[in-house]
Amino acid sequence: MSVSATYALFRKDVHSEIRTRYALNALIMFVVVAVATILFALRSDQPTSSVLAGLYWVVVFFTAMSGLSRTFVSEEERGTTMTLQLVANPSTVYFAKLIFNTVLTISLTIAVTLLYVTVFADSFVIQTMSTFLVTVILGSLGFASASTIIAAIVAKANTRGTLYPVLSFPVLVVLLMTVMAATTKALDGEPFEAALGDFQILAGYILAMTGGSYLLFDYVWKE
């Protein structure tokens, strides 16, 4: 894998996204609609921190599902997959798409957090900021690593739209449970050390998912 080629492909994806808004529009619309729906549903209720943490990651999960698959699906739909196969080796493509999805997921979680803090100003109060930040960063990395390989698989299928969340949920369920638990601890004001076990699970998940995806990607990408 060449670092400069990976960076060039990542830049290509960023420029392409800025010009086409394939994923960005879907993500923004979904975040706004989902948070507004939650706001209307809760009205003046005061949900517990675990409910808010759950709803926060539900929004991130479904928003990610609506946008992250685009990295590969758009190449497949436009017929540019073969062009990429001709100029780049599979590991270059995998890591460029992984970095792009990571950046997109981190931007997404920042947007969801800002909306949550604004809309649920009374109940969504982050008391242990360090725990929340590490959770969001590791959670975003985990989301991106799992959804990148699933997107590559789904892009080759005929029923892309429905297959992506269905295929992603069992893969992401461990990640979702862990980030929800860690976020609850951040909202409840528990010390940073209380979430260390969760962080270890997240780090292990990211390593296993990225390593497994790297090994599998050659077969998914080529035929």
């Binding site: 080629a5 060039a8 436009r78 017929g79 001709l86 080529k222």
Partner: protein
């Protein structure tokens, strides 16, 4: 340009047990060219993809050698230029941006801005280089594919349906590319057109696999 040779041994391709072609074998030495012909569905484009390392053969081997040493499949893409109906450029970029971006991604082989300019002039797209590809006609898109195929001065030029969508001037441009490639490297042409097949020194007829 370094001399490159190609050896194809017993290449067979099946899709879900459906036989496309069987036991394709030939050797191509530097300066030689081959036309792959056959009726629709005989597997010309599939064979071309196998030559370019985009598909793997069910059985058999495709080996490129430079000075007698085989080149790995992963490295061969730097030595190949492909023009194919299945190949698409990025609509949201200009012709120039497409070549710049794809050359940067193909980082193993240095492509200078002079080489990109030369390729665009060769295919007659220099004046329209800054226009988005989505505004190009189908003939101009085909010309851009040629620029993409020749920009890195490949040792192997693979043309699948080489003159589709091109006008008379475009066909002359293709003939100049073919002439230059024949004198300096390997040329593979997949076509149904007898005139295009005559560009090549050797011929491979597909289409008898199911018999």
């Amino acid at each position: 340009m370094k001399p490159l040779s190609l050896t194809v041994t017993g290449v067979t391709k099946e899709f879900n047990r459906r036989l496309i072609f069987r036991d394709v074998s030939f050797a191509l030495q530097p300066g030689r060219s081959i036309a792959v012909t056959g009726r629709n569905g005989s597997g010309k484009s599939t064979l071309v993809k196998i030559f370019c390392g985009l598909l793997s053969a069910t059985r058999g081997t495709v080996t490129y050698s430079m000075n007698g040493s085989p080149i790995e499949v992963e490295a061969i893409r730097n030595h190949i230029g492909l023009v194919s109906p299945y190949l698409q450029m990025y609509d949201e970029f200009s012709g120039l941006e497409n070549l710049e971006v794809l050359s940067r991604v193909r980082a193993d082989k240095e492509v200078t801005s002079e080489m990109i300019g030369e390729a665009l002039q060769t295919v007659g797209l220099w004046e329209r280089r800054k226009d988005f590809v989505r505004t190009y006609s189908s003939g101009m898109k085909q010309r851009l594919k040629y620029a993409f195929a020749i920009v890195h001065h490949p040792e192997v030029l693979v043309l699948d349906e080489p003159t589709s969508n091109l006008d008379t001037e475009g066909i002359s441009m293709v003939e100049r590319c073919v002439e230059r490639q024949r004198s300096s490297g390997l040329l593979i042409v997949a076509t149904n057109d007898a005139e295009e097949a005559n560009w090549c020194s050797d011929r491979l007829e597909l289409g008898n696999a199911r018999k």
